[in-house]
Symmetry: C2
Subunit: 303 residues, 2 copies
């Protein structure tokens, strides 16, 4: 079970954190940018190659202390096809180094199209009599708005290929409540979303009690996070919003179960841009920041 | 105003339809697949090149009768980076031929990440002192679940760059009601979504009364479609679900305003796979099917 693999990596490293790879040109050290511009000119290709080196450097600095990495597709897609190709290579490299890869792409569509997305990122494609793997991540974030038939194809691919998804439930942004917090008969939209996800994956829980469908719940809503943990014991949580977005170790305490399992907390800028505040090399500073986050989360989770 | 451009193309061709490019290996004529396999081997690259030829053939057959094309990102992403590169080239080719390109990628995320997606598909990126365009579509479908701050960056890019978005309101799939139809004080989640979109784009309407934020409303829910048309006169509708999904010309009548404007109706398989039912060449059959759809929609819209 894919979510068991993530949980075991977390327990082995005593570190329930994931580092978000959210590259932007202004985050990349100048020497990397200059080297790539010298080789490829002032192009999107050059920027993509800079993202590749930056991502590789971060993974090399983090793989033995952080169990998982969460590349954010949007930032790579913002460099067009060259960026997208580097996104795939970065996922592959992280998996080679033994990291669990959560591709944060928030895909979602109606049945047949959701099936195409699930093949793209978690599955395979049959073509020319061959079975080919387009991307190959461990897990993917998906959007819940379209309902069960938009989630089901992902779920089936998870079962068939030992993968996982994290569906948006209560997101970390300021206006997430506009639709997600609307209450019907005392139950909110995001609670109903969590209920549907639980129903869909009933009976599929692994060794630690969690199934292949997890939930995205923001660190910026600590009360909701604790309440959801109690109400939905089979949903593993991906918790964004720690660090730069304002969530603290105290805010995420409620995300964990009594064994310190059940959740992985993401920080992006707080780790990948740490060198801008701390000085030193980008990779060394990222490692130092990741070690601090690990200590804070060990206490929060009781690991 | 981008949505004015779409509306004018629709009026000029008297055709409120858009053809969805949803390629799958089994849709492509055997001779194209064989040619590409011979050149590139049994690879994702070969399949992507087949999608390129298929898409180009469809665009060449349709550009003078159909105002818009809607490539579905999922199917191209299912071929990995090679497919993604062909998706961009296909968008570029359709624009070169004068078609309005709606990229159906249903992107959506929190503020900063939504900004990256808006740059990727509708905007530009600043890098190496240059302003580069990663993709360059006329419009993009976006997911509403995260709330206003997930939509705002797209909206701002639309204003700055003369682009449009279509936000998911009431989707065409069978379980769309699970979250979207939940009613709070007599008002459904999807109606509140439409309200927010209207509020966000107030004052930005163009020549025909429509703003740069449109709404996706499925042909499979004709009553909701008519009611939304009346309630939200500034939202241009992208209406999927016609044809293969079950929606008829009669079902989409209510999507149009009194001038026959305000909506564009999508068919994908019904056009791009028409040759499988009709025989003949894939491109000739697509054109014939598109002409039939045009006649049906002219009547429905009163154009």
């Amino acid at each position: 079970m894919s979510i068991d693999i993530l949980q075991e990596k977390i327990f082995a490293l005593r570190n329930p954190s994931v580092v978000g790879l959210d590259p932007k040109p202004e985050y990349i050290p100048a020497d990397i940018m200059e080297k790539c511009e010298a080789e490829y000119g002032p192009t999107l290709r050059a920027a993509a190659e800079a993202y590749r080196l930056y991502g590789k450097g971060l993974i090399d600095a983090l793989w033995d202390v952080v169990p998982a990495v969460k590349p954010q597709a949007a930032y790579y897609e913002a460099l067009g096809p060259d960026g997208y190709a580097v996104l795939k290579d970065t996922c592959d490299y992280a998996r080679e180094k033994g990291m669990y890869v959560i591709l944060d792409a928030k895909r979602g569509d109606i049945g047949t199209t959701a099936e195409a997305y699930s093949r793209a990122y978690l599955g395979t494609v049959e073509v020319f009599g061959k079975t080919l793997e387009p991307f190959g991540c461990d897990s993917l974030t998906v959007n819940t708005y379209l309902g069960t038939d938009g989630i089901k194809p992902f779920y089936e691919t998870c079962l068939a290929r030992n993968r996982a998804i994290f569906a948006l439930v209560k997101t970390s942004n300021p206006s997430s409540g506009e639709l997600q917090d609307l209450a019907i008969d005392g139950k909110k939209v995001y609670e109903r979303a969590a209920e549907r996800l639980t129903e869909l994956s009933v009976g599929a829980a692994g060794r630690y009690g969690y199934g292949p469908i997890g939930a995205v719940v923001g660190a910026t809503y600590p009360e909701e996070l604790s309440a959801l943990r109690k109400a939905f014991p089979s949903l593993f949580f991906l918790v964004p919003g720690y660090g730069a977005q304002g969530g603290s170790a105290d805010d995420v305490k409620g995300a964990f179960d009594k064994n310190g399992g059940g959740a992985v907390v993401n920080s992006s800028r707080g780790i990948i841009c740490a060198y801008k505040k701390r000085g030193g090399s980008f990779d060394g500073a990222a490692r130092d920041a990741a070690l601090e986050m690990r200590e804070a989360l060990r206490k929060a989770a009781g690991l």
